[in-house]
């Protein structure tokens, strides 16, 4: 039973990692690529770590429970840090007015990076 859950978690984690890499390579512009990298990476890392933590509980003892707890701590750190890093990179691209992808080749106005933050006091 435990094995089945571990296998499901790990395989789905690997599946989402595959999706992340495909998205990173195949999406058309910076923003969509970062979107794929940020979301897929976080989810698949969490799934893999959960799988590892459960696998470690095969023979429950205080030591193995502690190790599982530590693995979940890595998950918490990744869960906070990875989306924040994605946000910071995305924001930097937004600031330097990277063009977004559009389906039709029409002249579009680029983002105005400063206007978005007009109300924010320095």
């Amino acid at each position: 039973m435990l094995d089945a859950i571990v296998v499901i978690l790990t395989v789905s984690g690997l599946f989402f990692f595959l999706g992340t890499s495909v998205g990173l390579l195949r999406f058309p512009d910076f923003y969509t690529r970062m979107h794929a990298a940020g979301k897929g990476d976080t989810l698949s890392t969490m799934l893999l770590l959960m799988g590892l933590a459960l696998y470690n509980l095969h023979h429950p003892s205080p030591v193995s429970i502690l190790v599982s707890f530590k693995i979940m701590f890595i998950g918490v750190a990744v869960f906070i840090a990875s989306p924040t890093a994605t946000h910071a990179i995305m924001d930097a691209g937004y600031e330097i007015k990277l063009k977004q992808w559009v389906r039709r080749k029409e002249p579009t106005t680029p983002y105005a990076g400063t206007e978005r933050r007009k109300g924010v006091a320095k």
Binding site: A81, T84, A88, D91, E95
Partner: protein, 249 residues
């Protein structure tokens, strides 16, 4: 001429590759490196130093001189960057393309940093304090500590970070770390041992000589951590602001 050089280089390279045949195999237990010195460390390290982590025992005790001067190298690298970048008068305004329009108003970054920094520092202290029992030590813990301050400077701005952790304090800690390391060595000289022979501390602390090795290593790791933490942050300060500590990137 170029072809001759290429020929000579290829010849020399081939010769070097050919001589690697005489080297012992990877992980060969009968090789000279594995048959004399390392067996002594593996068998005797715990008896002699009461430190279960063999790597730290070799790094901070058997090889204490080397690690001390590694710390001095880190210190000197920080000083070199400081000498080159700091105190240069800026002739014209900074010409940074795509300078961000705002500094320190990104709520997401700030709150994530607030969530991360305290656990990071706690974990760094754990890594330092547990360096002689589990993987870790002064260098690793110091880097994590330094990174927590860099994260603060990245998420907020350089000026508010410098108000919390002034440049003078940073430089004081970088020197203090080396002083702690060398001081432990000198005091063991005064107490009648060799330089960095922690066994001499046993009488002063009222513990056995073997245990004194363990505590000496802990003290040395703390010194290393101070220096590495301060130099990491000082490097960031000077490199990110171009030396005038006015504003970060």
């Amino acid at each position: 001429m170029k072809r001759l050089t290429l020929f000579l280089v290829v010849l020399l390279g081939a010769y070097l590759v050919w001589t690697t045949q005489d080297l012992p195999d990877w992980g060969d237990p009968a090789s000279p490196a594995n048959s004399y010195l390392s067996t002594h460390y593996i068998k005797k390290a715990y008896e002699e130093t009461s430190v279960p982590n063999l790597v730290t025992a070799v790094l901070a005790d058997y090889r204490g001189y080397d690690t001390m001067f590694e710390t001095v190298v880190v210190f000197c690298a920080g000083l070199a960057v400081l000498t080159i970048l700091r105190r240069t008068k800026r002739k014209h305004k900074k010409n940074v393309k795509f300078r961000p329009q705002r500094e320190g108003v990104d709520i997401i970054l700030q709150n994530a940093a607030r969530l991360m920094i305290a656990p990071m520092q706690l974990f760094a202290l754990y890594v330092i304090a547990h360096g002689h029992h589990s993987p870790g030590g002064g260098f690793q813990g110091g880097v994590i500590l330094g990174a927590s301050f860099i994260l603060l400077a990245l998420a907020y701005d350089l000026k508010s970070t410098l108000r919390r952790f002034k440049e003078n304090t940073v430089l004081f800690y970088s020197g203090l770390g080396v002083l702690i390391y060398a001081g432990i060595g000198v005091i063991s000289l005064v107490l009648g041992g060799n330089f960095l022979a922690y066994a001499a501390w046993g009488g002063l602390l009222g513990i056995s000589e073997v245990e004194a090795h363990s505590y000496g290593m802990l003290g040395v790791e703390i010194g290393v951590a101070f220096t590495v933490m301060a130099i990491m942050f000082s490097l960031y300060l000077d490199l990110a602001s171009g030396g005038d500590l006015d504003e970060g990137l």
